[in-house]
């Protein structure tokens, strides 16, 4: 069985196509979000130090969130 060359993920609920074996670092770079922000994949927090090691799977749901005002 041949492996697909791309995976499909959702970043903040927007569909993206990334290369197979893309990492969370690749996803962050694709979106171009500026720090400070934090990331979660499939509702699990991923520390910044793990972005480059966290290989994404197709259908992963990535959240990238940044500071805003709050009560």
């Amino acid at each position: 069985m041949s492996e697909s060359a791309t995976i499909h993920v959702l970043i903040n609920q927007v569909p993206y196509e990334l290369p197979t074996h893309a990492t969370l670092a690749d996803a962050v770079q694709r979106v171009g979000i500026t720090p400070p922000f934090a990331a979660a994949v499939n509702m699990q927090f991923v520390p910044k130090t793990q972005y480059a090691n966290h290989v994404l799977q197709t259908n992963d749901q990535i959240e990238l969130i940044a500071p805003i005002t709050g009560g």
């Binding site: 922000f37 940044a66 500071p67 009560g71």
Partner: protein, 270 residues
């Protein structure tokens, strides 16, 4: 001169071993502009500022950057919240993300159980708080004024709890004074009234009851002059706390003349 007294003594607000000079915690949302927010912060000199996390892209990213810079300029400790979280996993993940972004272990735990009233999910709140405390967070849980719920939160390790006075953003003031006062009498941990205050007199009232601090946002942000209202709330919180320390008189049903009766002129002339 020594004087024996059961009166509480003045001491700074202490939460999880950290002391704060102010007893007012201020939200950062819904202000007319960032400059008004900053001026309100400077006027109120709050102990902490609440903040949140949201998806940011495009122009939203610029707003986030601007807010981030404002927080750094304000130099007030940040209390991130988990606003909008409906499940334990959402709240825990949001708290973990907040810890990294804001570089703080403080978390205002909001676990919403009802979208209409924004009432906290009281059944799952203790478990969520327990997990966060085990993960090293200093949890300030937004909760109802239910005594047993608040006791359970203390049992799982919360060193302070934050009952609402009324639903978030309503400005009604304490809708259940009896329960809030009972809670104060029964629970020997710092209590912070969070949500539902609309007037400085509301804040003063709960501080007179012995609450340790108040957290508010909308009452300041939506005032016609938020900066002046921030100052009014700061003064009211301090006045209420001072009154609590001073010890109020007992209210009575019958009139008691404050001027001495003895020696009243013209008495019994007729």
């Amino acid at each position: 001169m020594s004087m024996e007294s059961p009166m509480p003594t003045s001491s700074p607000l202490t939460l999880y071993g950290e002391t704060f000079t102010s007893r007012l915690l201020l939200g950062t949302s819904r202000y007319p502009s960032p400059s008004v927010l900053l001026a309100a912060i400077e006027r109120a000199k709050p102990a902490m500022l609440t903040a949140s996390l949201r998806r940011q892209t495009g122009a939203g990213g610029e707003a986030s950057q601007s807010f981030w810079n404002l927080l750094r300029e304000a130099k007030v400790p940040v209390l991130p919240n988990t606003a909008g979280c409906h499940s334990m996993q959402e709240a825990i993940t949001t708290a973990e993300m907040a810890r990294e972004v804001f570089n703080t272990d403080w978390i205002k735990l909001e676990l919403i159980g009802d979208d209409y009233t924004l009432q906290p999910d009281t059944l799952n709140l203790p478990e969520a708080a327990s997990r966060l405390i085990k993960a090293g967070f200093k949890v300030l849980p937004y909760c109802t004024e239910d005594l047993v719920l608040c006791q359970r939160l203390v049992d799982v390790g919360c060193q302070a709890v934050m009952p609402w006075a009324a639903p978030i953003g309503t400005g009604k003031g304490p809708v259940n004074p009896t329960a809030l006062r009972t809670l104060r009498e029964r629970l020997p941990v710092p209590l912070i009234v969070d949500a539902g205050l609309g007037l400085p007199s509301h804040a003063c009232q709960v501080m007179e009851w012995g609450y340790d601090a108040v957290l508010l946002n909308t009452a300041v942000a939506l005032a016609q002059d938020p900066v002046a209202m921030a100052g009014a709330f700061a003064d009211a919180v301090q006045a209420g706390h001072n009154a609590f320390l001073a010890g109020a008189m007992q209210a009575q049903d019958t009139a008691q003349p404050s001027t001495p009766v003895l020696g009243t002129p013209f008495w019994h002339h007729a």
